[in-house]
Amino acid sequence: MTPFLHVVLLTPLLSAAALALVPDWRLAARLNIGASGLTLLAALALFAAPAGATVYLVLDAFNIALIVLTAFVGLTTAVFSAGYIGHEVDSGTLTPRKLRFYHAMYQAFLFTMLLALSANNLGVLWVAVEGATLTTVLMVSLYRTAAAIEAAWKYFILCGVGIALALFGTILIYMAAQPVMGPGLPAMTWTALQEAAARIDPNLLNLAFVFLLIGYGTKVGLAPLHAWLPDAHAEGPTPISAVLSGLLLNVALYAVLRFKMLLAANGAALAPGPLMVTMGLASLLLAGPMLYRRRDVKRFFAYSSIEHMGIITIAFGLGGPLANFAGLLHMAMHSLTKSAIFFAVGHAVQVTGTQKLAGIRGLTVSHPALGWGLLAGVVAIAGLPPFGVFMSEFLLVTSGVAAQPALALALAAGILIAFGALVLRAQQLCFGAPLAETAPLHGTLAPLYAHLALVLTAGVWLPGPLVGWFRTVAALLG
């Protein structure tokens, strides 16, 4: 196992402990950026390292791209966060004491995300996702308003139950594997399970997958288990909304996909496709119309996340090399685009002083760089060329037409409904005359434009190794 993976995991863990001891929030914000940058450098070094697995950790074609993506979004969000909290402290909504806690929790959250991605053990994966729930619950409740506490409570109850069901599924997987592989750690290790999958009892595997899909699916935000998602996104600090949408949903979906790989390798188990397509389609068709009724800008984009997680789940449910490829690409593109949008929204809320959609108008007039950035982000997430989201959605719909024409129709309808809402709101947010005097911009727009540049690049040209990994994983996913 390459030592860089250990650096990737240890840096955020140690920084979390260290940041809990730093009383000066300005210094803490800089250290937060530094630690995230170090994590990203170590993650980039993984590209040079060979794939490998130990009992607890694994590095393979599936998780390497996601680890780097997570480290990258972690860094850009830390940069955004430094400007964001500066404004919050000036306006008195956050105290330095809370920020000490916030920075420690931010690094702890990054650690759980990276641990979940690099875990080779079902138990470690579960503990990591559970830890991610705890840290994000604490951060969502940071503002201590009635709405924030209500959101955090709802999040905790729903995801707590989801996590419990996922653990039950994990125990079932072990039960299924234990007669074949003997008691002990191998029966909970991805790489060992993957090799022995064909000999495992398919019935227990099926039952386990249902629990795992519902359990981890709650964290993905799939309908009808999505109720926590809009509240948690809207009431917490905006950097947290960005990492919730950009990282947490992906990691939960990654867990589901690992288990799907097991089922695919088993052969005799039920095809998980129909289950996933149903949940994905329900999310897409529910979130699309709901977009029109949102009055809160962060809630609006949270529903858009539900929509996109629905699209990705449909892609993996459809299966086949092309749809799986589209799903993987869409995971990466959505993560980058949605966090970019939340950066822009965070700035927009701070300059206008309101989270209501009706209160934000004419951003391109009052703050051109911010307004055009937000517009580009919304255009990208709506699925227009030349951005990367267009490419993955196009791939998915075309592969859907070939496999299931009726389903492709529903999928296209869902995407179009959401498209209408996004264009409508983007036009209101970005154009027209500003409603009132706006405050100057705090912090830098660099994270926003860095994400947009990557999404644009991916829409035009994908690097060869990335295509290679995605192909390998798409084949494994079945």
């Binding site: 503990v127 905790f156 707590g160 139950v161 072990y174 039960m175 234990q178 019935n203 949102r294």
Partner: protein
Amino acid sequence: MIDIAYDASHLLGTLVLMTSFALLYQRRLFALLHVFTVQALALAAAAAWQAYAHDDPHLYITAVLTLALKAIAIPVALHRIVQRMNIQRTVEPALGIGLTMLAGVSLVTLSILLVLPVTEGATALTREDLALSLSVVLLGLLMMISRRNAVSQVVGFMSIENGLILAAVGVAGMPLVVEMSIAFSVMVAFIIFGIFLFQIRERFETLDMRRIESFRGESGE
């Protein structure tokens, strides 16, 4: 010949399930906490028995943790919270008791019908243990749905975790990491719940979840 190992673990597992039913119909919060303590004791005994019967010493740790945390520390702390915060001592469940019990019986039937056909290869003990623990998990879910009060929801959540531990100790040789993580998560979960209880008390003057749920966050809609 009587198989003591089988009978004893069966008895203890059933005891956990019975206390789950008892949790469903308690109206007074203190009585609810007492029943939860009994459930935790039964679970600790079940874990200890499995440790003894399978000669699996690390399960003793699970038993001791369950005993210390769930049978002693958590009920005591919740008692204090209820007393200090002067919460209404009796709670009306959202569903009628008859209806709740009926739903509970159907859930147990469901889990038996679900588990027995898919585990034909496993030993009788494993199969029944799994059916029992799935029932406990589902009854815990039912309790969280049928109760509006925050303390009862916490108890429902923890009884779900009890069901999970029951499942984990019933499977031979489950690595320690899982039990440890369960124990850990319960502890952390409890701390968080505790914080929440206080915060909710500050904001809403009552621990009745109906008031909180009526708050939609998106005022003006």
